[in-house]
């Protein structure tokens, strides 16, 4: 924990992250954003010729789609819903009074809106693609990026509550999407090496909730459904996942009715880059002053 706090303090002191008073909710400096922009250009350079269709969604999604996704079955502890004041003038008066007195929780009468904070960049994609009808026989590839929300306050700068995820999502046959996942595991390792980052790839699991979640964790690991690319940021013993490589089998295909032209259910896989984590890995490895970073790293990012 000390190492996490001291790295976070150093990031604040250097002005790279800006404190807001809430753990895991930070502003970013221009310099920090420049590193992320440069890394995203590197992603474009590596994956740009694959012909992915780019889509950008805001960091909120349709609550109905969120409900269908089943996110609350697996990760209720991480979800964030958007609530608003929907009362009349009288309600407004009691709200203000409640806020003024400060004894009661003024948010208790806020009502759920149709918007839920996006938990992963690809969540709004599946229903969008499903609406279009059958997927071409050769499958489809999408490029997404969004701020994502996960309710997990922490002093670890690599565990933020609002962070950006860049993703490629592949839909097609089993072999098509698992080849895509393998291709990006290889590419990911090469990309991080070209940035002078120490990486390893390991089998992983999502943070499923509760005891029942243990079973989902075991299932996921037994079937090699998730891999992560790990880089030391606040701990060498427990390096941080900076990329993840997920094979969903046909679960999203079945859930959203994603079919290929021949009528078979589409398999899907996604590859995600944790953009803040990658920037933090660079700052941690090469120092807080980008001008001091090795020439080869600077050339890869800004050359």
């Amino acid at each position: 924990m000390d190492m996490q706090v001291s790295f976070l303090d150093r990031l604040f002191d250097a002005g790279l992250l800006i404190e807001t008073g809430v753990d895991g909710l930070y502003g970013r400096s221009g310099q920090f954003e420049d590193v992320i922009a440069a890394f995203e250009r590197l992603i474009d350079k590596v994956g740009g010729d694959d012909g992915a269709e780019a889509m950008r969604f805001p960091p909120g999604m349709n609550r109905a789609f969120f409900e269908t996704s089943g996110y609350m079955k697996s990760f209720p502890q991480l979800a964030g819903t958007v609530h608003s004041f929907c009362g009349n003038e009288l309600d407004h008066m009691s709200l203000l009074k409640c806020m003024e007195v400060g004894e009661e929780d003024w948010t208790k009468d806020q009502e759920a809106t149709d918007i839920v904070l996006t938990p992963a960049a690809c969540y709004p994609l599946y229903p969008t693609v499903a609406r279009r009808g059958s997927l071409p026989a050769g499958g489809a590839l999408f490029d997404l990026q969004s701020y994502c929300f996960r309710h997990e306050p922490s002093k670890d700068p690599a565990r933020q509550q609002l962070f950006r995820m860049r993703e490629y999502v592949c839909m097609g046959t089993e072999s098509h999407v698992t080849d895509f996942r393998q291709l990006w595991m290889d590419r990911g390792v090469e990309m991080m090496k070209s940035l002078g980052l120490e990486v390893e790839i390991d089998i992983a699991n999502d943070p499923f909730f509760g005891r029942a979640g243990k079973m989902l964790v075991n299932n996921q690991r037994d079937q090699n459904l998730k891999f992560e690319l790990l880089i030391p940021i606040t701990s060498v013993a427990k390096p941080t996942a900076c990329m993840s490589f997920n094979y969903h089998q046909d679960s999203f295909g079945l859930k959203w009715g994603l079919n290929l032209e021949d009528g078979s259910v589409a398999h899907t896989a996604c590859v995600g880059f944790g953009l803040e984590r990658i920037a933090l890995a660079l700052f941690h490895t090469h120092g807080l002053d980008v001008k001091e970073w090795p020439g080869s790293v600077r050339a890869t990012l800004w050359g």
């Binding site: 089943g70 079955k73 697996s74 005891r211 029942a212 243990k214 079973m215 989902l216 075991n218 299932n219 996921q220 037994d222 079937q223 679960s251």
Partner: protein, 83 residues
């Protein structure tokens, strides 16, 4: 026990086929048992037999077939008797 397992499977398994038509050794995942349904099955078994699955048995293998479930539950019951 076999009957209780089949009843639970009918109630929470969400299988597209009739549970009565499944052999004891039939692969439940191939029959359409989802990860989430297997979790509900696990919770249902815990309640029905008043047992608690140890973490080591919370995996796909334990729920792969009706026979496998019987074996897993018997194993937990025996371990409890021995304790």
């Amino acid at each position: 026990m076999n009957e209780t397992i089949r009843e639970l499977l009918t109630r929470v398994g969400g299988l597209p086929v009739a549970v009565t038509e499944l052999e004891d050794g039939a692969d439940l995942y191939a029959a359409g048992l989802s990860s989430f349904a297997s979790v509900q099955l696990m919770l249902g078994l815990e309640e029905a037999f008043d047992i608690e699955f140890p973490d080591s048995l919370l995996n796909r293998k334990s729920f792969a077939s009706i026979a496998a479930i019987e074996q897993t539950v018997s194993h937990i019951l025996k371990a409890r008797e021995a304790a």
